[in-house]
């Protein structure tokens, strides 16, 4: 199956937050009491029952005294997903045929390692400590429907479809560089940024921690060899040299 993806276009977003609402509605996530923080952005961060939200960024300049950016923040469904690499429980985080990174709360053991390994600070934990994040509406996409956020977006700021087509679409709209096209093996959520990603709250070059990469690429394979090697060495030693018997009769000191 071709890899599916989301295309997020902040320039089209009007900040209505229908995506936040539609996501809660489809995924049956409760509303939460929030605080007035003196702005329109609300809530201020992802929570265990808020899988996507609109980040409000004020970026005024001389040319554009009123520039307000609305950016849909969510799990990026990375191809090289730090969360999946560090997760110790098989099946807790899994790849759907569409390429989404979904979580299964029954399998999650609540170790919270995935948050440390996620370059986008996405996973949150519910009151039982289980990983709770956007799963690209696994049940919808499995039935060939767009995720709730994309389906509901009135301006087309979030669209869903074949990932290659999403990239082509952004390029046709004039975005030479699509954020996420090649990062981390290719993100499942692509962003059409008019300016540098920093302005929108994203890292120029998102990266998985070097230590995690080094562990997976180098040490993990070596550990098989190391541990298997000593076991083999013990067998060889036993056969070739043999046990060290301390004999009583040659005890004359």
């Amino acid at each position: 199956m071709a890899r599916m993806g989301l295309l997020v276009s902040p320039e089209l977003c009007i900040g209505c937050r229908a995506c936040q609402v539609a996501c809660k509605s489809w995924n049956q996530l409760p509303g939460e009491k929030t605080k007035n923080r003196g702005g329109y952005e609300n809530p201020g961060d992802l929570t265990p029952s808020l899988y996507n939200r609109i980040r409000f960024v004020e970026a005024p300049s001389d040319k554009e005294p009123l520039r307000w950016l609305f950016v849909n923040q969510r799990c990026m469904h990375c191809e090289e997903a730090g969360c999946m690499q560090i997760c110790p429980s098989p099946g807790a985080l899994y790849r759907t045929p569409e390429g989404a990174v979904a979580s299964n709360k029954d399998k999650c053991i609540g170790c919270k390692l995935c948050l440390a390994a996620c370059p986008f600070n996405v996973p949150r934990y519910d009151d039982k400590g289980k990983c709770s994040k956007c799963n690209l509406c696994v049940d919808r996409i499995a039935n060939k429907m767009a995720p709730a956020c994309a389906k509901t977006c009135p301006t087309g700021a979030i669209s869903y479809g074949d990932r290659t087509e999403m990239i082509a679409k952004a390029q046709k709209a004039g975005y030479q560089k699509v954020y996420g096209q090649a990062d981390l093996g290719g993100l499942g959520a692509l962003y059409a940024f008019k300016d540098g990603p920093k302005l929108y709250g994203y890292d120029e070059k998102p990266q998985i921690s070097e230590m995690l990469v080094f562990w997976h690429k180098v040490l993990k394979p070596l550990s098989y060899i190391g541990i298997g090697g000593v076991a083999a060495a013990a067998v060889v030693h036993y056969v070739a040299v043999g046990p060290h018997k301390v004999k009583e009769d040659d005890d004359h000191e």
Partner: protein, 209 residues
């Protein structure tokens, strides 16, 4: 002392510590292996990954307590090095051939001293980093660093344990006896640990034997 008299190498308490250390360590290695390599069968053997996590965490507490108590017994023997240790290394500890003459050793031989000190270091590292991941999972930088150190220590211990099991059992008949009854015949102790016996006999050994 008669050559067939039994001499105590490990007291009851020392053996209890070592058994707790051994059992917790082996179960930790197995469950840790299950986590690192996501092995369903290992998870199932511990009643699922959820309970394996709880067991792994609390066994870690047993492990570090047993490690400290055990180390308290052998640390003073492991921190003493002299010329015989250099000679021991130059003949490969006699492990490669039974023909070479191995220099006299104390209660621990050079290889044991290095291996035990390595394991003590790895054991402390693996415990501290384990507690970091268990208790402050929100701290990303610490968790990532701990994850790495935890795994590196896991490899070090994972290499040590098969070696230690082999050398402590079939490779050196009579050694396992120390873990079971705590005693070995006097003649054997004198042959394997001449310097320790000499110390004991001169009354400086400081051992309960």
């Amino acid at each position: 002392m008669n050559k067939n008299d039994m001499i105590t190498m490990a007291t009851g308490f020392e053996r209890l510590c070592h058994w707790s250390l051994a059992i917790s360590c082996i179960l930790l290695i197995i469950s840790g292996f299950g986590f690192l390599f996501k092995i369903e069968a290992i998870g199932a053997a511990f009643g699922g990954f959820n309970s394996m996590k709880t067991i792994h965490n609390w066994l870690g507490v047993v492990f570090i307590a047993a490690l400290f108590l055990s180390a308290a017994h052998w640390l003073k023997h492991a921190l003493r090095f002299d010329g015989d240790d250099v000679r021991w290394l130059s003949v490969g500890g006699g492990y490669l051939s039974h023909k070479v003459k191995v220099p006299p050793m104390g209660k621990l031989n050079t290889g044991q001293k290095f291996a035990y000190l390595m394991v003590l270091t790895a054991g402390i590292a693996i415990s501290v980093t384990g507690f970091v991941m268990w208790l402050i999972p929100e701290n990303k930088q610490w968790v990532l660093l701990s994850f790495f150190i935890h795994n590196v220590s896991f490899i070090m211990i994972g290499i040590f344990i098969p070696l230690h099991l082999y050398l402590g059992t079939i490779a050196n008949p009579g050694t396992l006896q120390i873990m079971i009854g705590g005693k070995v015949p006097y003649w054997m102790a004198k042959k394997k640990h001449p310097k320790w016996i000499a110390e004991l006999e001169s009354g400086k050994g400081g051992h309960s034997a």
